[in-house]
Amino acid sequence: MSTSRDPDAWLPLTPALFYVLVALADEEKHGYAIIKDVAALTSDSVRLSSGTLYGIIKRLLDNGLVVESRRRPEGDLRRRYYSLTPFGREVALAETSRLERTAALARATRRLREPSSRRAR
């Protein structure tokens, strides 16, 4: 499996994959915790299904963006915990700044003012 070490080669990320990286950014988590955290991060607007989640986890593992954590917090030996690698963090940061740049560009044009009648989220 070729592992590209250039974070930019990964961009843009799918929202689901991006949220998984963000969910793992503070501490290692097991699968269900990731789903819960992503839901919390997005105010319940993104609910990953177990299939989607593990599809993403496999891809992240294969490419060295996350690793299986050796530590089993809370003495839970059955579950596997995943943690972000430095490279995974780089990719997440690269996507964050890409999103910022994109948003900034769009705003700078001043063409996308929201109609006043529309409720801002």
């Binding site: 499996m1 097991h30 699968g31 269900y32 915790a33 789903i35 609910r47 990953l48 299904s49 177990s50 299939g51 989607t52 989640l53 593990y54 599809g55 986890i57 496999k58 809370e74 839970d76 059955r78 579950r79 596997r80």
Partner: protein, 875 residues
């Protein structure tokens, strides 16, 4: 967070989830399956708080997510396997090249023959609109199709009463003589069709219009075939409205049929179409086949049911003479989907393509056996790689899948190249059927592509499975060393088995090729009569109303005129060419003093004076016909030796009376047998009568010339046409060309067999070379030991050659047995040579041994050059 679940039997939801997880690839499942079930349990517990809606939305999310991810994971795995396989193949370019080329030839040959069968039997009329709705209707008697035997009355009755066919058209065909416009007079094949013919087929004209109900007998019109428009009228649109003379009647050209349409059957060769009943060649309404278009939703079986009623009505009323005749001989009418060739031809042409199919299937088998052997060698070289993968956790199934992906990738590339081979081979087939199926277009359609794909898949698995099973039977590092030695022997014996099979199949193909080459030579190069420096024409004065007397005068004048042309040596003619088995069939009976003898079915031909002399057919006893044998004189006959023997044994036949179809003749001569007998068949019996005495009208003309007959053919034709410009002159060519045309099937079979035999030989040599090279490389040390113990280079050479030739000899023996068992398939195509011809068997064995020895040489010499010191140090 949560405590582990209590162990308990999984409920329905968990079981369903497990089923969903099974959608994932095996490795994904074993990596994450447990964990996913665990996550799902927690999700369910949480969703249950949200009541039914919560559960429902969880399931919806879970199912879609699982399906989508599973699809992606499978594609990823496949793509990974393919890239891995491609890299592996790049590392062994020689093997890859051999594999692709041999598969291209093997699969390509099968594709070509299948596309031929497809055109002959399966494909619906390509030019027509919605061709699957077209149905042919034919007469049949005693299970045999009678082409062009439905009556006008039957056509009208069916058209008036049918509820299953939207419309029905009648069609037949006849030769017409085109004079006037567009160059030299020529014989064309005209379709005579009911005016609704083109509308039933749903065809659109290339230019102008097609025939319609307005076209009738009063102002005759004609539609040209596209190829005639191009060749004779230079593709000019101005051809519309021009008039041509066909059989001395004027026709106005109103349009050109779409390109590629030459009749409703595959290989049809209509040059133009006119409305039935227009010209004088059209006889009292008998002689159609019908073509109908199904009412949407109706089936051929329903048409057939309707036809049964129609026949009963016709039989009970017996309105016409023809119908009562038909009713009395228990003929019937049947319907069949309009596909491929005419059902009458179907029976005639089935054998050859099926035989060819057998041949190319053999070839593909050889290619697969060869590849299996080569891949087995490679799998030996890859033991290390496989062991590494197993150590890294790859399962056996995973390895097998990977290895099969490699062989399937090979066969896919081979199949792509095979399509190119098939395009070339199809044009070869088309060229070989310029006579039996003029304008045959062996095209490719979805069936051909599906077939190619299927064959590629099957052969990929066939040659890949044994190497894959073998290579995957690998232990991880550690126990590898001990395993190694034992399994190498097992593998090499499997390879030897493949080699033996390959040699056996090659021998069978080669013997087939050798006997076919001999047989074809007997038919075409040594046909039993002189065929060089002879021009051949078919003359049909009967089509312009000649009777026997007028014809006799015509031939006298013709002979006189042609004899004056510089370069002409002699002019003779006969009802049929002397080509093998060509003529009318007659019941011949010897009339001895003691009453009539046995009846012998014989070939009959009416010939002119000088026929035997000029065509080099020897008269063994008595005389041939001369100018005295005229209608008024005593009726005379010449028999061939075989007929004489069958009728009278060894006694002298001259002067004896003989009955030919009930009429009595006196035998005045015995001609030598000229034709090679078919394998296992009695020699053909021939009776020759006098052309003039029998008042025969039509004839084949043979003009013996000095030098190149081909150059003289058009020159003599011009003189012929001058004698009477209205007499049809056709098939102008040399006699050798005419002979060759009669044996198209045999020629194609010979070429396919010879080509397959050659390729098989090369593949066998490659396989043997591969095996021996591997064997030598594995035994470098052993060879070194032997040499240091005093074996000289010659002893080593002998050792290697013995190693190579042992399986070859075994294959040879098996091949000869296989040949003896399978050659009866060829027997009907063999003339003057036995299917078990010892010379051919010896020749094939000689070829195989020679090529095998050559293949042994390189590895054997490499072995003989081994330096004992280096070899012993190496390990």
């Amino acid at each position: 967070m949560t405590s582990p679940d209590r162990p308990r039997a999984p409920d329905r939801g968990s079981r369903l989830y497990r089923l969903l997880v099974r959608l994932m690839p095996f490795e994904f499942r074993s990596d994450f399956g447990e964990e996913m079930s665990d996550v799902f349990r927690q999700e369910r517990r949480e969703a249950a708080l949200g009541g039914r809606r919560g559960i429902a939305s969880l399931w919806l999310r879970t199912v879609t997510g699982m399906v989508r991810t599973a699809a992606r994971q499978h594609l990823d795995a496949l793509w990974h396997d393919i890239r891995y396989a491609a890299r592996g193949l790049q590392r062994t370019p020689a093997l890859t090249l051999v594999a692709v080329v041999s598969l291209a030839l093997g699969i390509g040959a099968n594709t070509a023959i299948f596309s031929f069968l497809n055109v002959l039997f399966l494909r619906a009329l390509p030019a027509a609109a919605d061709p699957s709705g077209l149905v042919g209707v034919y007469a049949r008697s005693d299970g045999r199709v009678l082409p062009g035997r439905l009556t006008h009355a039957e056509f009208k009755a069916l058209r008036a009463t049918t509820r299953t066919l939207a419309d029905v058209a009648a069609h037949t065909e006849t030769w017409v003589w085109l004079t006037g416009e567009g160059g030299e007079p020529a014989e064309l094949y005209a379709g005579a069709v009911s005016p609704n013919y083109f509308s039933v087929l749903g065809l659109h004209p290339a230019i102008g219009r097609l025939l319609t109900a307005s076209d009738g007998v009063e102002s005759p019109t004609a539609v040209l075939a596209y190829h005639v428009w191009q060749s004779r009228f230079a593709g000019e649109p101005a051809v519309l409205g021009r008039s041509v003379t066909l059989n001395q009647r004027r026709f106005t050209i109103v349009g050109v049929a779409p390109e590629g349409f030459t009749g409703v059957y595959a290989g049809g060769s209509r040059d133009l179409w006119v409305v039935t009943g227009v010209y004088d060649g059209w006889s009292a309404g008998e002689g159609y086949d019908l073509v109908g278009r199904l009412v949407p939703g109706r089936t051929v079986a329903e048409v057939q049911a309707e036809l049964g009623v129609l026949v009963d009505v016709a039989r009970s009323s017996a309105a016409t003479r023809v119908e009562s005749a038909r009713a009395s001989r228990e003929a019937s009418i049947f319907a069949a989907p309009l596909r491929g060739v005419h059902p009458f031809d179907r029976a005639q042409v089935t054998r050859t393509p099926l035989l060819l199919f057998g041949v190319v299937a053999f070839l593909l088998l050889i290619a697969c056996a060869n590849l299996a052997g080569l891949l087995l060698a490679r799998s030996a070289a890859r033991r290390h790689e496989m062991a590494v993968r197993v150590s890294l956790g790859a399962t056996r199934g995973r390895l097998i899948r990977q290895l099969l992906t490699e062989s399937l990738l090979l066969s896919a590339v081979g199949a792509a190249a095979a399509l190119l081979v098939a395009v070339w081979a199809s044009s070869l087939i088309e060229r070989h059927f310029s006579y039996a199926f003029a304008r045959l277009q062996v095209g490719f359609d979805w069936r051909v592509l599906a077939f190619t794909l299927g064959v590629a898949l099957a052969s990929g698995i066939a040659f890949g499975i044994a190497p894959a099973l073998d290579a995957s039977r690998v232990a991880p590092f550690g126990s590898l060393q001990a395993e190694g030695a034992r399994r190498t022997t097992g593998r090499s014996s499997l390879r030897t088995a493949f080699l033996i099979g390959q040699v056996a199949l090659s021998v069978a193909l080669l013997v087939g090729a050798l006997v076919m080459v001999q047989s074809l030579g007997n038919l075409v190069d040594r046909p039993g009569y002189a065929q060089d420096e002879i021009a051949h024409y078919r003359l049909r004065p009967s089509r312009v109303g000649y009777d026997g007397n007028r014809a006799a005068a015509y031939y006298t004048e013709l002979t006189r005129r042609l004899a004056q042309v510089p370069g002409v040596r002699a002019v003779v003619y006969a009802s049929f060419p002397p080509v093998r088995a060509w003529g009318a069939t007659s019941a011949v009976q010897g009339l001895a003093d003691g009453g009539p003898g046995p009846i012998v079915e014989s070939v009959r031909n009416e010939v002119s004076p000088g026929f035997f002399r000029e065509l080099g057919i020897a008269i063994a006893r008595g005389r041939e016909f001369d100018a005295r044998d005229l209608p008024g004189a005593a009726p005379v006959a010449v028999v061939n030796e075989s007929l004489s023997r069958r009728l009278w044994g060894e006694s002298d036949p001259l002067g004896r009376p003989v009955a030919v179809d009930g009429q009595t003749f006196t035998v005045v001569g015995v001609a030598r047998d000229i034709h090679a007998a078919r394998d296992g068949e009695r020699p053909l019996t021939y009776v020759y009568l006098s052309h003039a005495q029998r008042r025969a009208v039509d004839a084949r003309l043979f003009v013996r010339v000095e030098g190149d007959a081909e150059a003289m053919v058009p020159v003599l034709r011009r003189h012929l046409v001058e004698v009477d410009p209205n007499v049809h002159v056709g098939q102008e060519m040399t006699l050798r060309q005419r002979t060759t045309l009669s044996f198209e099937f045999e020629r194609l079979t010979t070429r396919v067999l010879a080509g397959s035999g050659g390729v098989a030989l090369i593949l066998t040599a490659l396989g043997l070379y591969g095996i021996l090279s591997f064997w030598v490389s594995q035994r470098t040390r052993e060879i070194g030991v032997r040499m240091s113990l005093g074996a000289d280079a010659r002893a080593i050479l002998r050792l290697v050659i013995r190693q190579g030739m042992a399986p070859v000899s075994l294959g040879l023996i098996l091949g000869i047995i296989l040949t003896l068992l399978s050659m009866s398939l060829l027997a009907s195509l063999l003339y003057g040579v036995s299917a078990h011809d010892p010379l051919a068997l010896a020749g094939a064995a000689f070829l195989v041994i020679g090529v095998a020895l050559a293949a042994c040489c390189v590895p054997a010499r490499r072995a003989a050059r081994v330096d004992p010191a280096t070899a012993l140090r190496a390990e």
